[in-house]
């Protein structure tokens, strides 16, 4: 974000040749790192998913079961057909997308409310609330998931209290509801930090001007504050959604056996069913969905760099 913003602000400056080389050299370590440790494995995995079982994939191929072997020079779509023909996959994909949408939506609403409350009130309560909402950042996800599972289980606190009062509270342990609660819990801190900083950046003068010209508080928020914090909100939304769509720990520990989110499902294919090829196919599907969400992030960045210049 900052890099693009920086190049956006300095497009006309002509740099000497040596500076360009130095710049390239400075950028080289991360590029080499990404190419070697991320890029190559991705290419390798893509080749494996297309049925190229030799070379670097031969060790994996030796142990895996139900593999498709390349039939053309480019490979075969056998593994993809295998995955896409299973109802379970489409069910898992639907659940993954729905949980991501709901969790992201709720997270954004909660984070925006806290940010606005903090911006407009500035009281001790609002500051306390904002500080409290960041707490999940400091609690490991495994522990939080376990706590959520126990809390909403058949013997959990809400059910115990409800039973004493004479009515029955639903059991949420091992259901998708628990997954949504867990996802919101883990995503909230980052969203609050991001959106709060965006909302704090709106100058008092702008809000006061809107109020002076007769806008109600709601109107001032809706037409002035939120649009000015639009980019941080989009960034928070994309990061939250990408984080949730690839999550494993929360759905693995708190979710139902079926349908599961794809993160759990592809781990099952990899380990429990010993079908790494199919697992990689599912990983690519998650990657594509995440890339679509990422496109929104790039667009927001583009917009923000234009705003700067």
């Amino acid at each position: 974000m900052t890099a693009e913003a920086a190049t956006g602000t300095l497009p006309q400056v002509k740099r000497p040749h040596t500076g360009r080389v130095r710049g390239l050299l400075m950028a080289l370590p991360p590029i080499v790192f990404v190419v070697v440790f991320v890029g190559l494995p991705i290419v390798n995995a893509a080749l494996y998913s297309l049925g190229h079982l030799g070379g670097l994939n031969s060790t994996t191929a030796l142990i895996a079961t139900h593999q498709s072997r390349a039939t053309h020079w480019w490979g075969t779509l056998g593994a993809y057909r295998d995955v896409f023909s299973q109802d379970r996959f489409w069910r898992d994909l639907t659940v993954t997308v729905v949980i991501t949408l709901i969790s992201t939506g709720v997270t954004l609403v909660l984070a925006t409310s806290i940010a606005l409350f903090l911006r407009l009130s500035g009281s001790v309560i609002s500051k306390g609330l904002a500080a409290l909402s960041v707490v999940p950042q400091f609690i490991p996800v495994v522990i939080a998931s376990w706590a959520i599972l126990t809390f909403y289980s058949a013997t959990g606190l809400p059910r115990t209290i409800a039973a004493h009062l004479g009515f029955s509270f639903p059991i949420w342990g091992y259901t998708s509801v628990a997954v949504v609660i867990g996802s919101i819990w883990t995503s909230l801190p980052f969203a609050v930090l991001m959106i709060a900083s965006g909302v704090q950046g709106v100058p008092d003068a702008v809000i006061e001007a809107a109020r002076d010209s007769g806008a109600s508080l709601a109107r001032a928020v809706g037409t002035v504050v939120l649009p000015m914090a639009f980019v941080p909100i989009v960034i928070a939304a994309t990061f939250t959604a990408i984080g949730i769509i690839g999550s494993f720990t929360v759905p693995y520990l708190t979710g139902p056996n079926a349908p599961t989110m794809l993160g759990v499902s592809l781990t099952n294919f990899f380990q429990a069913y010993n079908q790494p090829q199919q697992s990689i196919v599912m990983a690519f599907v998650v990657f594509i969905v995440a890339a679509l969400i990422g496109a929104a992030y790039v667009w927001a960045n583009f917009r923000s760099s234009k705003d700067v210049s």
């Binding site: 079961t65 379970r88 494993f248 693995y252 520990l253 429990a272 079908q275």
Partner: protein, 385 residues
């Protein structure tokens, strides 16, 4: 291997294990290389992927026992709790064998069947290891000609005596009990724990012709899986009666926790895990176990494999011979309440008495090799909603 209860921990990346493994292999190879060549290597590393009770068994039982007759042997243990790193260890083994190097351990009890299938282990037969001749054919077959069975355990039905006065004696009675007591029974999903796998296997068996059951225990043939369909229908039919209308916990331990906290009244459990659990207080006194019949729950042997490229093959074969001796099998039976794998008639009388009700030679094996992973997969597709 089947006990891998906690795949969650697979998130961790265990590079340190790999490093330590490499270091060990180089030292063990150079120790023996001195005067008498490779065959006389006196140092050996055993990779164990189990719970701590198995580590104790080796450290305080089997290794000291073996050193009585081989005082100069140096047996080390590379311990991988709950087989959390079994995937990496298997990959390390296959890579090392391909390059004709030692993977850093000589004997493994992790992923033995997979390694044997991939031809990474030294082949074993009765001429090399005479006790194998006395073992049931199905037990040997599941070792793919390379795995050495060395201890066994079986799955039993655990129930809460506070609420269940007369537990079901047969599978049919158990199924009827589950339907009569909705929400009071569950088993862990087969992929997450062997106790759940045994329950599923037993129900599938009960709905399959006898000859197919036997065939599925000696060789892998995916076309036979169509015979599972009636059994899966029965399991699917149980779904609304299972805990919380269809919740199957992850792993043997989670199922036991539900039983111990009184949320369910009955669940299948590993024999040795139950005994250990009652010893350390994880399972209350009020929980009892027994084996059902017609058919009984499956169990299985745990196998040891000797890596093909190990520099200590002779010593390892000697260790195998010792482990299959009545003396070592008695240690297994007393220390971890494991089932002996050699015929009971060769064991001391006290052990014969202890296992009189659950004859290890009657142990019903799980399905063969890849049927296991296929069962995990199909169960996930067909049983939970």
């Amino acid at each position: 291997m089947k006990r891998r209860a906690f795949a969650a921990a697979a998130v961790a990346v265990p590079t340190s294990v790999m490093l330590s493994g490499c270091l060990k292999s180089s030292t063990s190879a150079s120790n023996g290389g001195g005067s008498s060549g490779k065959g006389a290597t006196k140092s050996l590393t055993v990779l164990l992927g189990d719970d701590t009770n198995i580590q104790d068994l080796w450290q305080n039982g089997l290794i000291p026992g073996f050193r009585k007759s081989n005082p100069d042997a140096d047996i080390k243990i590379d311990f991988d709790l709950h087989s959390e790193h079994s995937e990496q260890n298997l990959a390390k083994m296959s890579a090392a064998v391909k390059r004709n190097q030692s993977p850093g351990f000589d004997i493994t009890d992790e992923s033995v069947t997979q390694a044997a299938q991939a031809d990474l282990l030294v082949k074993q037969d009765a001429s090399k290891l005479p006790p194998l001749a006395d073992m049931p054919k199905t037990v040997i077959a599941q070792g793919y000609g390379a795995g050495v069975p060395y201890r066994a355990s079986s799955v039993l039905l655990a129930y809460n005596t506070k609420t269940v006065s007369s537990p079901p004696k047969t599978l049919a009675e158990l199924l009827a009990w589950i339907k009569a007591h909705p929400g009071k029974f569950t088993y862990c999903s087969p992929k997450s724990g062997g106790s759940g796998g045994a329950f599923a296997t037993t129900v599938l068996d009960a709905n399959m012709p006898k000859n197919i059951q036997e065939e599925m225990r000696v060789k892998y043939d995916a076309s036979l899986e169509k015979y599972w369909d009636p059994g899966f229908k029965v399991l699917r039919g149980l779904d609304p009666y299972v805990y919380q209308k269809g919740v199957y916990p992850n792993g043997n331990n989670q199922a036991l926790d539900l039983l111990a906290s009184g949320q369910i009244e009955m669940t299948p459990v590993w024999s040795d895990q139950f005994i250990t659990g009652q010893k350390n207080g994880q399972i209350p006194e009020s929980v009892k176990v027994h084996q059902i019949s017609d058919p009984s729950f499956t169990g299985g042997a745990n196998y040891l494999g000797l890596v093909k490229t190990s520099p200590a093959i002779d010593l390892a074969q000697k260790l195998f011979t010792y482990i299959l001796s009545p003396e070592a099998q008695t240690l297994i039976a007393t220390q971890i309440a494991g089932y002996p794998v050699i015929p009971l008639s060769k064991m001391p009388e006290s052990i014969q008495k202890k296992f009189a009700d659950a004859d290890p030679s009657d142990l019903r094996e799980n399905f063969f090799g890849d049927f296991g992973t296929d069962l995990n997969n199909l169960w996930d597709q067909k049983v939970p909603r």
